[in-house]
């Protein structure tokens, strides 16, 4: 009776299969070299400029980019799950290590120039206009009634920097490991929102929640450039945020990608970084912008003894089962995964 439905069904299947194949093919076809850049949540603006600058050079003339930005750890996981990437520009070495462990990035990535770092920034406090609650130091954050915004450490790189900075600041002030950890827990009792990414946390703060936002100095400066009225304080003790860039092992454009990485560390790109709020790794460019980026006596780094490097910090703080943050989040009723 409805024999025609049989060829109709088969026809549909054939059409669907052909469509899928064509689409998959079309998605990968491109003229010249196409580089996929997977980045953390906040550097979209500056990377756009750097890419444009590179495309004016002979190396970059035939290259085009597809870019994806999001929470650093989430992005690393997406790449591990199959998101195509030639380059990753993440916010912590920890997230790059995730890809090393997944076999997607060479373990010697940090032997490239400047230890694999593209640019620096520092952890700062973004406050309301006029700083009504007089927030200047880490101890001010745990005063009664102060509401803190920081992202979710299981999805965001920015969150990890904030936590290690909070811990390290206490250690620099002479507190023991136990006391400093207790401080972090105390801090998290004041946290009122843990967004997925650094950028989302910024938006939450700009929407009027919280008294202080823990974020990158670069994010505060970038927000100002787009007309957002953000005031910030660099505490005396703070952490140097080192932002890694790496090529993936399964990239089919390794040479071109490496050329781009080299460009990123040269003066032209470093200058762009500085203009958009990042602290250059190139010493000469850094000197040029010394006024814009005040130094602080108490700035420490990830490899300092009190922190012990990313592998150690990841084990101690961010292990999804035994890490200190899991316990702290449970104690304060926050998220225990990303």
């Amino acid at each position: 009776m409805y024999l025609f439905t049989m060829p109709m069904n088969k026809l549909k299947l054939v059409l669907a299969a052909a469509a899928l194949a064509a689409l998959a093919g079309a998605a990968t076809a491109a003229a010249g070299t196409n580089l996929s850049l997977v980045g953390y949540s906040t550097p979209k603006t500056v990377m756009g400029k750097i890419i444009q600058a590179w495309q004016q050079t002979p190396d970059g003339r035939d290259a085009s980019f597809s870019q994806s930005y999001g929470a650093s750890t989430d992005q690393a996981r997406a790449v591990a799950n199959g998101l195509r990437a030639d380059l990753v520009f993440l916010s912590t070495g920890d997230d790059v290590n995730l890809l090393v462990d997944a076999g997607l990035v060479d373990s010697k990535w940090n032997r490239q120039a400047y230890n694999g770092i593209a640019a620096d920034t520092v952890v700062i406090f973004a406050v309301r206009n006029g700083n009504p609650k007089h927030i200047k130091s880490w101890n001010d954050l745990t005063k009664p009634g102060v509401q803190v915004i920081t992202p979710n450490p299981f999805s965001s790189g920015s969150a990890k920097w904030n936590i290690l900075a909070a811990y390290g600041a206490q250690r620099r002030l002479g507190k023991s490991d136990k006391q400093a950890t207790a401080y972090v827990q105390q801090l998290f009792r004041h946290v009122v929102s843990q967004d997925t990414s650094g950028r989302n946390a910024t938006n939450t703060f700009l929407a009027g929640k919280g008294d202080v936002l823990l974020t990158y100095e670069s994010e505060a400066l970038n927000a100002r450039l787009t007309g957002q009225d953000i005031q910030y304080v660099i505490p005396r003790q703070s952490m140097l945020i080192e932002l890694p860039i790496a090529v993936t092992k399964n990239s089919s454009n390794k040479d071109v990608a490496n050329k781009f990485i080299r460009f990123v560390k040269q003066p032209a790109a470093q200058d762009l970084f500085a203009q958009y709020g990042f602290r250059p790794v190139n010493a000469k460019v850094a000197r040029k912008y010394a006024d814009k980026f005040p130094s602080r006596p108490g700035i420490f780094k990830i490899d300092d003894k009190i922190i012990g490097g990313w592998r150690h910090a990841d084990d101690v703080w961010f292990d999804p089962n035994k890490g200190r943050m899991v316990q702290i989040e449970r104690a304060v009723g926050g998220p225990t995964s990303g």
Binding site: G70, A80, S155, V192, Q194, T196
Partner: protein, 249 residues
């Protein structure tokens, strides 16, 4: 039917299977973790609340559209379907414009539970209206007139004559609204925030845990949500059966 299997059955099967993979015990512990339970409770509570509110306003609106007459009524009638046609993220954005940080009327509910309520009210608005309207249209006025002629009060007329007839319609609308509200994501993303235990609903929980690589956790809650969807579908099917049996009798 192969199409149906590839598109619908296979993914659902994969989901149910994945939640089984680490054993029923793990599934249970993840699904009943404090954060997951809080998210599910919030979703169910919110869905229930908006279904009731929209049942009330939806019935009134359906009544007004059928029994009342005024200029622009046809426009109002068309506008009811807007939440069906509008992308959910646009819905969230529109609510943000009026009831968010830069609200011109000074009401800011962003990142609170009120925002969740508001967003869900928007997307579930049409359901009860559209299920009650056809019933009211068909309902013959004579029974009501007779009731009134016999001296019954308006309320009595409504309760004894109109309500029994439109009740199945209201209930199907409520069931559809409920299912929709439990699963909603787009309208919530910009306005509701995602604070666990405060403003994180089940759909946001699943979304965040997928991004966070916690497929087990996401699958556990997703399967619970799926079961709720199934239960609601069965309910609607049952109601439809009851309603048509009433016709067939």
């Amino acid at each position: 039917m192969t199409y149906l299997s590839i598109v619908v059955v296979l993914p659902i099967a994969a989901l149910v299977w994945a939640s089984r993979e680490e054993g029923l015990g793990t599934f249970w512990s993840v699904a009943t973790s404090p954060e997951a339970l809080a998210a599910l409770k919030l979703s169910l509570g919110m869905a229930f609340a908006v279904s009731i509110v929209n049942a009330f306003f939806g019935t009134i609106t359906a009544w007004v559209l059928v029994r009342d007459d005024f200029r622009g009524k046809s426009v109002v009638n068309a506008v009811i379907d807007l939440p069906f046609a509008l992308p959910t993220i646009v819905a969230g954005l529109t609510l943000l414009a009026l009831y968010g940080p830069q609200s011109p009327v000074g009401i800011d509910v962003s990142l609170t539970r009120k925002a969740i309520l508001l967003a869900l009210l928007f997307v579930t608005l049409p359901f009860v209206v559209r299920t009650v309207q056809p019933v009211l249209l068909e309902l013959e006025l004579e029974a009501e007139e007779a009731g009134r002629a016999l001296g019954a009060s308006e309320f009595r007329v409504f309760r004894s004559i109109v309500l029994p007839n439109i009740l199945p319609g209201i209930l199907s609308g409520v069931a559809l609204a409920f299912a929709r509200a439990v699963g909603e994501i787009g309208a919530l993303v910009l306005i509701a925030g995602n604070r666990p235990f405060k403003t994180e609903v089940a759909s946001v929980f699943v979304f965040l845990h997928i991004q966070g690589g916690d497929q087990a956790g996401a699958s556990a809650v997703a399967v619970v949500m799926l079961s709720i969807s199934f239960a609601v579908l069965l309910l609607i099917g049952g109601l439809r059966f009851l309603a048509t049996r009433h016709e067939r009798a």
